[in-house]
């Protein structure tokens, strides 16, 4: 094959130009080493609660192995609608406003593809989850990142939004509690951002997968604000609070027109979410409150520990309100995030993720996940303390 026909050149320009995820890059380096203590893991260290696993096994025993409705099992959609109404006070019709997806990842892809035409601008905040920017580009939209600031606790402000909105802005994509910063919003923050979205007539995608994991305040959802349900796609899933990452279960709640549009893409690409995972999720919604409370209490102790340890070392770290990440400021050591993370790995066998994996403005920070056993966190903090002493 000559150069113009090389396989690489046959890949679309869009895909070619999107860099590999910084996480994958770092994963390859960490995987080549033995006995690493990893604070780099973005999923719970808890195994899915036993009764949920048991429900999946029972379903398998009953021979539940078929497709489901494209939308997902109605019993599950009913459970989701009840859960969302209980949490946010906003009612969705399980028949045409709830769609079961393969993780929030799929839900986001559906939402963006359903809404974005070439050149449409999507406002979102960085540091952000790794998929936001690429998903917008896959849909030929224009990602417009707002860099949230440490001095604002990485909370998005109305002034920052006003500075970035243009007549081409169509969608506002939000994620609080936030991965990777651990920031959560107050009710006032949510109301301010909602007022902005309404004033500029934007569609809002809100990824609230960490809604259960706030430690010092009750989560307040964007869909709890009057006038927001009509313009919002609410994205949530079972991975985090229920420790069900491998089940790949997410869902969207949105007005019927938007749900129908996402469903069209979903039915032709995914058909439906796996039925065993759906069965397990029905059980998860029925009686996992005490499991969630237990895991949350554990995360809280670890959050306190990791934050206190960084403070003691003189490494500034915003007090994480939610999710299970501490975003520590290591800029004073005169290295890039990536250099710091690589050297820490090399010297002390502790893995964390360079902040730049979540956007350029993550420079100077490292993400440390406290979805890690307490004993490992203790050991990792001792090693980091030793590491910085020798810098």
């Amino acid at each position: 094959m000559n150069d113009s026909k090389s396989l690489r050149n046959r890949i679309t320009k869009t895909v070619r130009e999107i860099p590999r995820s910084g996480i994958r890059d770092f994963f390859d380096i960490v995987s080549s080493r033995e006995d690493v203590i990893s604070l780099g893991i973005g999923e719970p260290d808890f195994v899915t609660p036993w009764h949920i696993r048991d429900a999946a096994m029972l379903a398998l025993e009953r021979g539940v192995t078929s497709y489901t409705s494209n939308m997902g099992l109605l019993a599950l959609r009913r459970g989701i609608a009840q859960y969302v109404e209980k949490k946010t006070g906003t009612a969705y019709n399980p028949v045409d406003e709830v769609l079961v997806t393969v993780g929030v990842s799929e839900g986001l892809d559906l939402a963006i593809r359903a809404l974005i035409e070439p050149g449409d601008e999507v406002l979102y905040h960085e540091p952000s989850y790794v998929s936001y920017n690429p998903l917008i580009q896959f849909a030929h939209g224009t990602p417009v990142a707002i860099q949230t600031k440490k001095e604002n606790g990485f909370r998005l402000t109305r002034a920052e939004l006003e500075a970035h909105v243009t007549p081409r802005t169509k969608v506002l994509l939000l994620n609080y509690p936030n991965n990777p910063t651990g920031a959560a919003l107050s009710q006032q923050d949510v109301e301010d951002i909602a007022a902005f979205a309404i004033e500029h007539d934007l569609i809002v995608l809100t990824d609230e997968i960490y809604d259960e994991l706030t430690y010092d305040r009750q989560h307040f959802s964007f869909i709890s604000v009057q006038g927001m349900k009509e313009r919002t796609i609410y994205l949530h899933g079972f991975s985090k609070a229920w420790a069900m990452t491998g089940f790949r279960m997410g869902f969207t709640c949105a007005p019927p027109e938007l749900t129908e549009a996402m469903m069209k893409i979903h039915q032709y690409t995914m058909l439906c979410a796996p039925i065993l995972s759906q069965e397990a999720s029905i059980e998860a919604l029925k009686k996992a409150d005490s499991d969630i409370a237990y895991m949350k209490a554990e995360y809280k102790k670890r959050r306190n520990f990791i934050h206190a340890s960084f403070e003691q070392m003189g490494i500034p770290c915003i007090y994480p309100d939610g999710a299970f990440y501490a975003f520590a400021d290591v800029s004073k050591f005169g290295m890039t995030s990536r250099e710091f993370a690589l050297k820490l790995l090399d010297d002390q066998n502790v893995a964390c993720v360079p902040g730049t994996a979540f956007g350029a403005c993550g420079e100077g920070f490292i993400r440390c996940s406290y979805a890690t056993a307490m004993d490992d966190i203790k050991e990792a903090m001792e090693r980091i303390a030793r590491f910085i002493e020798n810098l």
């Binding site: 973005g42 195994v47 102790k301 206190a308």
Partner: protein, 159 residues
């Protein structure tokens, strides 16, 4: 239950410094609270959870269901207290249901435990019958899995 007690039940050797970081208390507050629990008798003792099967000469655990005639004064308490004072007796519980007291006995051999039951326990006044079971294997004790752990199968770095 109190978070400090929960943490100590998981690991009684946790340092006051670590406890203070986890709970957002000062080290002195943690120390004072622990001292108060000890003084009030809330914390009775600190013990290790031992996997007996790993030891060359493991102890035999005997579980005994005991029926007793409650005394007109003192009910079950007096006889339960008398039984509790034997050093062979590890635990004593008052139960609802088909029997009254549940005993856990530790002995070096089955014979030794049997001797305790036949010579010391059955002959006590007030005991009407006993049913003796020998414990075969411990899978979980005091919240600790004795044989299996759940391996961490997660990717070492993920978004």
């Amino acid at each position: 239950m109190n978070e400090l007690l929960e943490l100590l039940k998981q690991n009684a050797l946790e340092s006051p410094e670590n406890l203070s970081k986890m709970l957002g208390l000062s080290i002195d507050e943690v120390k004072q609270q622990i001292a108060a629990y000890e003084k009030e008798g809330v914390i009775r003792a600190y013990q290790a959870v031992v996997n007996e099967e790993k030891l060359d000469a493991s102890l035999v655990t005997t579980v005994i269901e005991v029926k007793v005639t409650p005394e007109s004064e003192g009910g079950f308490d007096r006889i339960a207290d008398r039984i509790s004072r034997f050093p062979e007796v590890d635990s004593v519980f008052l139960m609802s249901g088909g029997f009254d007291l549940l005993l856990f006995i530790k002995g070096r051999t089955m014979q030794e435990s049997f001797s305790f039951v036949s010579e010391k326990l059955s002959t006590m006044q007030g005991i009407t019958s006993t049913a003796t079971h020998f414990m075969m294997k411990t899978y979980k004790q005091s919240g600790i899995l004795m044989h299996t752990g759940e391996d961490d199968e997660r990717l070492k770095v993920s978004p």
